[in-house]
Amino acid sequence: MASVTFDRATRIYPGSEHPAVDKLDLQIQDGEFLVLVGPSGCGKSTSLRMLAGLEECSEGRILIGDRDVTRLQPKDRDIAMVFQNYALYPHMSVAENMAFALKIAGVAKDERDKRVRDAAKLLDLEPYLDRKPKALSGGQRQRVAMGRAIVREPRVFLMDEPLSNLDAKLRVSTRTQIASLQRRLGITTVYVTHDQVEAMTMGDRVAVLKDGVLQQCDTPRHLYDRPNNVFVAGFIGSPAMNIRDFPLTQNGAMVGDTEIPLHREAVAMAGREGNTVTVGFRPEDVDLAGDGQPGVPVEVDVIEELGSDAFLYGHLPGANPLEDSPIIARIDPRSTIKRGDTVHLAIRPHHVHAFSPTSGERLPDA
């Protein structure tokens, strides 16, 4: 077990000027479950592969524990990796698959068998030890891939979207299993996913990447409550946060015909850049305004029923619903609002996020 440090790690692919991973600085604690998340092409997989030693580090360093592993071969880094497609050896049985690394490392047969059996027990794979991977279901293959990593008892687990090939239901249950398994084993884990729900539910901390640049690394709660910039605000949360520019007033922003108060410093900073401010609010931080109360008028385009919740998609009067991104609000699933209605939304003032309209950075709110 060990901590992991990315020290200004950079990866520039040959023939490309833009770095795939740009000066990544990241500290991962011993035993921590860190999730790298971002849209495709954001450099999350590349970062993981750099840590694994499958990609070269163009600049900067990578440390596992106190050891600089930047120039070490994968086998000397004491890591184990779970691949997206599992990458099981098709010609070996489950037991052989799991024992392969130990065999190469010269571990004695008794010890090998014992560790494979322990891992198989942990993962419910005991009945399948003699089977070939092609005779297993997707979920079982996924567990074999996990088992192959576990038997090695590495200092760091690396997982590259290990759930993306499972069906939706299995993905949810496996998600929980992996998270609890990791906590039980206490092995530092770096997990890559593009699914922000996975990131939020599994990680101790979540690192959001975009275009090779680390945007924010924080606990899921903090990431959700205080996103650093517009990108993180829009990426984390489903449905996405409502984000758009509104005219700046003396004390806040003018949303529709209602003024939303913002922190004095935020107003001042936005004022120096222009006369608008980027305001974000989550769908659940919106209430339907009662009769006579102030609220932002919104014309309803779609009501999305999820059973436990319902989401209202609408647009401001005068806006084109096809061009603008919709305004989304969570409403009572039993409400009688329907398509074409105009509702008034009251935004909870203390749950508003203000961002600089030019840089997209978060403006102070306290």
């Binding site: 030693g53 691949f83 497609n85 991977p133």
Partner: protein, 319 residues
């Protein structure tokens, strides 16, 4: 990162099924089936005649065509006995020593190129080094050199070594007339095609599996031996059949390097071609000899044919 390859656990459903179905449908239409059966019969009749002739007594063979056997059946194994061991009419010593020679030539002549080519193919496909592509294309370009062009220089090299003017680069090897010459020649001639075929297959193995082996601690050689070799068995078997048949049936290379006649090194083909001259009238013996030489390729083909089909399909149809 979704790399798919034969046999390997695919992430998404591979596109093999439709292609295979299409092929199957084309070949299962009645017209096509009838055509195939007709062709097969047409091609098998001469071979069948050969077999029947080889089993008839000498008097019958000279007196009537092989189809008469259906009216007056009479069979004997004497021809085989004569041809293989007892020698007999002008066939000194029989074919057995030549048969053994053929095996001694063909087995290493198949294994050597396979061993070298599979390692080369893996290195060219998966070991990153400067100029690997240029090297690969250069090797394959050698395929256009007709082997006849290389026969005499090689023969000279094996016997006299290599020298430019008075400068001796390789001293005389005096290898002429030994098995080494045919082994080396067949290995060399097979190399471009072998590397090309195996490279195409090995390059298609999924990157994930290779990387998993790397992370598991396997070096290049271990990855080759434990992962690449077992996974590329279909293509290796397919090429083994090609190469074995080619070496077994080869006459030109054998005649050039190990000459005809000597029972110590000459293969079956060389001896059979001599017999055609000296025993032109003894069809009973010739047909038996021919059948002896067919038997081994048949065994090789039937024992490896399931790999053969897979190996041929694997390159063209992904899945």
């Amino acid at each position: 990162m979704s790399v798919e390859a034969p046999e390997v656990i695919p992430a998404s459903a591979p596109s093999r099924q439709p292609a295979v179905t299409a092929i199957r449908r084309t070949f299962s239409s009645r017209l096509a089936a009838g055509f195939v059966v007709a062709l097969t019969v047409l091609w098998t009749i001469p071979t069948f005649g050969l077999l029947v002739t080889s089993l008839r007594p000498q008097a019958d063979v000279t007196g009537s065509g092989w189809w008469n056997v259906f009216l007056h059946p009479s069979f004997t194994l004497d021809n085989y006995k004569t041809v293989l061991v007892s020698g007999g009419y002008n066939v000194s010593g029989g074919l057995l020593p030549y048969f053994v020679n053929s095996l001694v030539i063909s087995i290493p002549g198949t294994l050597f190129p396979l061993a070298i080519a599979s390692m080369a193919a893996y290195a060219l496909a998966w070991v990153p080094f400067r100029g690997s592509n240029v090297l690969f294309f250069t090797i394959f370009a050698l395929q256009v050199v007709p082997l006849q062009l290389a026969l005499l220089p090689l023969l000279q090299f094996f016997n006299l070594g290599l020298s430019i003017g008075p400068l001796t680069i390789v001293p005389a090897l005096h290898l002429g007339g030994t098995f080494f010459t045919v082994w080396i020649a067949h290995t060399m001639f097979a190399m471009p095609l072998a590397i090309f075929l195996l490279h195409n297959f090995i390059a298609q193995l999924p990157r994930d599996v290779m990387e998993a082996a790397t992370v598991d601690g396997a070096n290049f050689f271990l990855t080759f031996r434990r992962i690449v070799l077992p996974l590329s068995m279909p293509s290796i078997a397919a090429f083994a059949i090609f190469q074995f048949l080619w070496v077994w049936n080869d006459l030109l290379v054998a005649l050039t390097f190990v000459g005809g006649g000597q029972a110590t090194v000459a293969p079956l083909t060389a001896r059979l071609s001599q017999l055609t001259g000296s025993l032109g009238a003894r069809w009973d013996l010739l047909t038996a000899g021919a059948f002896v030489s067919i038997v081994v390729p048949l065994i090789v083909f039937f024992s490896l044919q399931r790999f053969f089909v897979r190996g041929l399909l694997a390159g063209s149809v992904k899945g």
